[in-house]
């Protein structure tokens, strides 16, 4: 199946003082695929996410989403074109309930505009019901229905990860940027999350770019892998190809990490 690149990152540059955090990084993410962004710590992966999602200003290069140039777009504008990101440490709204967290995330809410609270109340109420239905579905997907009306602050770390994940799906994104969704998560939960991510791609046609350090998982679920090191993209391709790429091995050997064979099923 040959599809267009949905996200195109071109020659992206970001300095912090003298440090080049991102150094002419360039790659594409094909629509409907799971692409993993891997690399040793400090490679610039999260910085890249911040640049793409509008939280940092590029010092050079461009980012295109579909046919739109989102290089200079502010975070909320990036979300508006259908590109949603999560954070490495889940940023759930602790003093709101789980359900409120989800309702919040939905897009196209007339009730978020002041005037609609007075002149178009029926549309507001109708949309709120639809949002509620979708929230219920997502609550079931991540199995948080039991805690739906608890404050998000009372959730465990793993539950917060699930909430962060579900929340990113509420606005029906075309593409999600997942920042280490499996980090610090127990293996059982990790497998569930992996299955959900794959389900996203297969059943809902959501494009996914995921930063991950869990390399076995990456090898299992990714269609494409992009490897970064020292701010640069040093390899891009199918998991098998990347695993054998000498530059990648060198980058990881420097950090004593083993890149597993995607064919192996590791314990």
């Amino acid at each position: 199946m040959s599809r267009q690149p949905l996200l195109r990152v071109d020659a992206l540059v970001k300095h912090f003082g003298g440090l080049r955090a991102v150094d002419h990084a360039a790659f594409d993410v094909t629509e409907g695929t799971i692409t993993a962004l891997i690399g040793p710590n400090g490679a610039g992966k999260t910085t890249l996410f911040n640049l793409v999602s509008g939280f940092l200003r590029e010092d050079g290069g461009s980012v295109h989403f579909g046919d739109q140039d989102i290089t200079r777009a502010a975070p909320h504008d990036v979300a508006a074109v259908g590109l949603i990101r999560t954070f490495q440490q889940p940023r759930v709204m602790t003093r709101m309930t789980v359900r409120e967290n989800l309702h919040l995330a939905s897009k196209d809410q007339p009730g978020e505009q002041l005037r609609n609270l007075f002149i178009n109340r029926r549309a507001t109420r109708r949309r709120e019901r639809e949002v509620g239905d979708r929230a219920e579905d997502l609550l079931q997907l991540v199995d948080l229905t039991r805690v739906a009306d608890d404050y998000a602050g009372t959730l465990s770390g793993g539950q917060r990860k699930l909430l962060e994940f579900a929340r990113a799906l509420m606005p029906e994104p075309r593409m999600v940027l997942l920042d280490e969704p499996l980090a610090g998560v127990n293996p059982t939960l990790g497998r569930r999350l992996e299955a959900m991510i794959e389900q996203l791609r297969s059943e809902h046609d959501v494009t996914i770019l995921v930063i991950e350090h869990d390399l076995p998982a990456v090898m299992r679920i990714s269609d494409q892998v992009v490897v970064m090191s020292d701010g640069r993209v040093i390899a891009e391709g199918r998991p098998q190809e990347v695993r054998r790429d000498q530059a990648v091995i060198d980058a990881y050997l420097g950090t004593h990490a083993d890149i597993p064979d995607p064919g192996e099923d590791l314990p």
Partner: protein, 326 residues
Amino acid sequence: MNAILNAQFWFFVGITAGIFTILGLGLQLQFGYAGLLNFGHVAFMAIGGYTTAILVVKTGMSLWIAAVLALLVAVPFSLLLGLPTLRLRADYLAMTTLAFAEIVRYVAINEEGLTGGSQGTINLAGVGTATNYNREWLAMIGTVRDWLEPLLGDLASRDFIMLIIVWTVAIAAIILVQYLVRSPWGRVLKSIREEEDAAAALGKDVFRFKQQALAIGSVLGALAGVFHAFQFSFFSPADFVPIVTFFVWMVIILGGTARNWGVPIGAAVFAVLFAGTRFLDVPPFSWLESDERAYLRMIIIGLALILLMMFRPQGVLGKREEMVLE
């Protein structure tokens, strides 16, 4: 001497509580819900009061129209304040809003031609000509009073009528703010207070929401200023010193920030503390001279603030989980 039994005294306390409720609701929306550290709230009270008085005296406008315009004028002023400052970190925002309020006060003191200067609204038509902008309000109250007197006798005083009016408006304001806060709009506001970046990543235009909260809160501040102008028929820049903003902060903390129905209770407690200690002849206040009483009152308020922060930062009514003060 025994003012506790005097109904008029309690009406006055009630009016103070009502005006502080309206002020408190505005600040509540800005801080309790949007997380904005606004330390310039009193500026909008000044803008509300002065705009009303200036329009009436300088242009001969009807008081009612002037009051409505005063509320509307608060919005562009809040934009002026918000545009440069809303992106600042919390304590920097506190400093700049405080500076903004002081600029407003200094202008009120110095631009005699516009505001009557440091002597206040009595000089609005020029020094030496005592002006009264409040004629229409007083006339209306007089009419209502004549109407009520056969029914209520002595109770039908000016302050009693003012009390009913202020509290009717205050309750309407509480209901309105409650409605706003429970809506999807309010939900975004709360999310911004909690995790601004996550809210932005989910598509919310953080700056716009903050500006809207600032604007609505400012209109409420101006409304309180209009009532202040009605009640006292005269005011000066000294009525709008930074301490008043701190009083409003006390009110919302007492009631527990992020609880709208806590605001009138915080305002009531504060009004009793404030007006009560001014007029009541109870020890330890009865042992002191009047200026010493004023100082003691302030010291008690300061101590109360400190003790609240130390032992009950969620306020008298708030819940720990909902504590906005970290």
